[in-house]
Assembly symmetry: C2
Homo-oligomer: 129 residues x 2
């Protein structure tokens, strides 16, 4: 319960990070930048959309903290911001850890049941595999 | 390039998964379900929103493949769908792996530069820490 409330406060970053990555062009940009920095025009090249649209996607990514950019002369260079993706990685890892812990517990319960049903006195029903 | 194109095709699941998790109530529901199954009314209890709104959030989560639900009698029970979150975990892990590989390469380049600048003949500029 406390966890649920905690997760609902102070986490607007996560909201915007998830939202930013819910769009294939923005994900492709993050994929490209995770291999190294690139200029806006380099980033725009593979996409069949206007440069203005790419710039808009970059703004969404930058506002969510997933990338940052810096203008030197006439060239704006974009870089991945590791912290942004780490927030998401942490959230997902926490969920998976809880799920796995739960599956471990279920496994233990099933193992106990197996020991129980292995007793010769016990009348067993056939169980699905 | 092939990677970018690949990432833009066949990945509508990722889109809807990211979009589904860009909302704090839906994330809180996934957090709750990662600790075990729950009925719709149990899930609704901690939130100050209508049951109809919760049901709508559950539909978004179910359509994106992050949860599944089953109605027995009058009770609909929701469960986490591990596969859904795994798709996101995989995407994020791939990005981080590429970023780390890049940082390793940068580290090697810096180490080589250090060896170079350590040579007594070389006239060094003071470098920022």
């Amino acid at each position: 319960m406390a966890l649920i409330l905690k997760s609902m406060l102070n986490l607007s970053d996560i909201d915007s990070n998830f939202r930013a990555l819910a769009e294939p062009t923005r994900r492709a940009i993050v994929e490209r930048l995770s291999r190294g920095p690139a200029s806006v025009s380099d980033l725009a090249r593979p996409f069949d959309i206007t440069l203005a649209a790419v710039v808009q996607h970059l703004q969404v990514l930058e506002e969510s903290g997933l990338i940052r950019s810096e203008k030197v002369g006439r060239v704006r260079t974009c870089r991945i911001e590791a912290g942004g993706i780490d927030v998401l990685a942490k959230w997902i890892a926490e969920r998976r850890a809880l799920m796995e812990r739960r599956l471990d517990r279920l496994g233990e319960i099933l193992a106990e049941q197996d020991q129980f049903t292995a007793m010769p006195q016990h009348k067993r029903k056939e169980r699905p595999k």
